[in-house]
């Protein structure tokens, strides 16, 4: 089958793709930053010995991990406004659901790190009169943050990929622009391939760094 590639289409559509890329990155940074902090809060509730804190945190994490992200996006865009009583913009709905989704995964990473620290550390800190909050900040977190770094990087990579689902809510990010352009020009092969490559260029450095980091940390232990 002979197919003539049209490279001009790629050049023509590049400015619009770049504009989409900017929205992708905005969405990514927003969801990752808030997702991380929220995830930490959830993990504290998750490791708490109080049932009324612990149980909802488990429910929260499990709901987000056991349903498809796309369903979460659709739910926050179409269903959530009904209880809220106000329409959300596609970007807000996407940012909200991606943030909450990311926070659930980050909560599990934080929790894994926190419980991996031996009880002796907590007891040692308690014995010198430290409060729980102080112990967490001065003793526990410094030990685990480094160890959790590869897991967080992986989460960041997953999130970067998942932002593309916002295109299905018509958020004008990279994938959306790609689909729009490919139907405008009738050139899905060129444009979708370029979109894939742009994502690759965006994400690959992160996963390369993450793999190196993991090897370095593994070598040290």
């Amino acid at each position: 089958m002979e197919y003539t590639w049209d490279f001009k289409v790629i050049l023509d559509s590049f400015p619009l793709l770049l504009r989409g890329l900017v929205v992708t990155i905005e969405l990514w940074i927003l969801a990752f930053a808030i997702g991380l902090s929220l995830g930490f809060a959830v993990s504290l509730a998750r490791v708490s010995s109080r049932g009324w804190l612990n149980a909802p945190a488990i429910g929260y994490v499990e709901i987000f991990r056991n349903t498809p992200v796309l369903v979460q996006l659709i739910w926050f865009y179409y269903a959530f406004p009904i209880v809220l009583g106000a329409q959300l913009s596609p970007f807000t709905a996407a940012a909200l659901s991606l943030t909450l989704n990311t926070s659930a995964y980050c909560a599990e990473i934080f929790r894994g790190g926190i419980v991996s620290i031996a009880r002796g550390q907590w007891e040692g800190a308690k014995a010198i009169g430290m409060t729980r909050a102080m112990t967490m900040r001065r003793v526990i977190l410094p030990q685990v943050l480094k160890r959790m770094l590869p897991a967080f990087t992986n989460r960041g990579i997953e999130l970067a990929k998942v932002t593309s689902l916002a295109s299905l809510l018509a958020v004008n990010e990279l994938m959306y622009q790609g689909r729009l352009l490919s139907s405008t020009y009738y050139r899905p092969l060129e444009i979708l391939t370029v979109v894939a490559l742009v994502y690759f260029v965006l994400i690959y450095p992160g996963s390369y760094l993450s793999a190196r980091l993991e090897r370095r940390l593994a070598a040290r232990d």
Partner: protein, 221 residues
């Protein structure tokens, strides 16, 4: 804000959702089986001493790990038919996207399992005069398979969630069917909450079932 819940509207069309659920399970199972085959072959290529085999396999894995699944879905549905000159059913395109993508991840599962077996096992077997294939089949894989179960389950779980993206190709899986029910009933809250619960039940049950199998295997081993 007082919202009148009306699950009866959903209940009346529950048969449509059941059709969707079956579509989801079908898509997931077919893609898992094909993905495992792709993954095994790619893993063998990555472990090969020949660069001509290793390099394309590595490129394959890295490409899929660093690009979003939705791009693959659209690429297989809209772009590939142009190259090969025949169009695909949504199901076929979805299977292609899912099985190649999960193949890249399964390849890493296989490779990780195989390289985790210490060098002495290779040497012990080779010293008896076994060739590469026999060593792999009789000595390495039986030990490696046990270690692969957990990451394999995680990957298949992710794949099952990703099947929701097939809705964007109008394949009648659970999310797509929910959209249809929603357009009949105008009850997004009830419809999307219902399918979220359905996904949750299926995924939660499946992952816990697999954990049990995993636990059993670990005890046998």
């Amino acid at each position: 804000m007082q919202y009148q819940w009306d699950f009866a509207a959903v209940w009346n069309h529950f048969d449509l959702l059941i059709v969707g659920l079956i579509g989801t399970v079908e898509l997931a199972l077919v893609s898992i089986v094909l993905g495992v085959i792709v993954g095994f072959l790619v893993a063998l290529m990555r472990l090969s001493h020949r660069r001509a085999l290793r390099t394309p396999a590595t490129a394959f894995v890295e490409f899929y790990r660093n690009t979003p699944p939705i791009v693959h879905f659209f690429w297989f549905f809209y772009a590939l038919p142009i190259v090969i000159g025949l169009s695909f059913e949504p199901f076929t395109a979805a299977v292609l996207a899912l099985s190649t993508q999960s193949g890249a991840f399964y390849a890493e599962v296989f490779r990780g399992g195989i390289v985790s077996i210490e060098r002495g096992q290779w040497e012990g077997a080779k010293a008896l005069g076994m060739n590469y294939r026999t060593v792999l089949r009789r000595v390495i894989l039986p030990q490696a398979l046990r270690r692969m179960v957990a990451p394999f389950v995680d990957r298949s779980f992710e794949l099952t969630k990703t099947t929701a993206l097939a809705s964007s190709l109008a394949y009648a899986e659970l999310l797509y069917q929910a959209m249809q029910v929603n357009s009949i009933t105008y009850r997004p809250m009830e419809v999307y909450t219902t399918i979220a619960i359905m996904y949750f039940i299926v995924l939660f049950a499946a992952s816990n079932l697999m954990r049990l199998v995993e636990y059993r295997l670990a005890r046998v081993g």
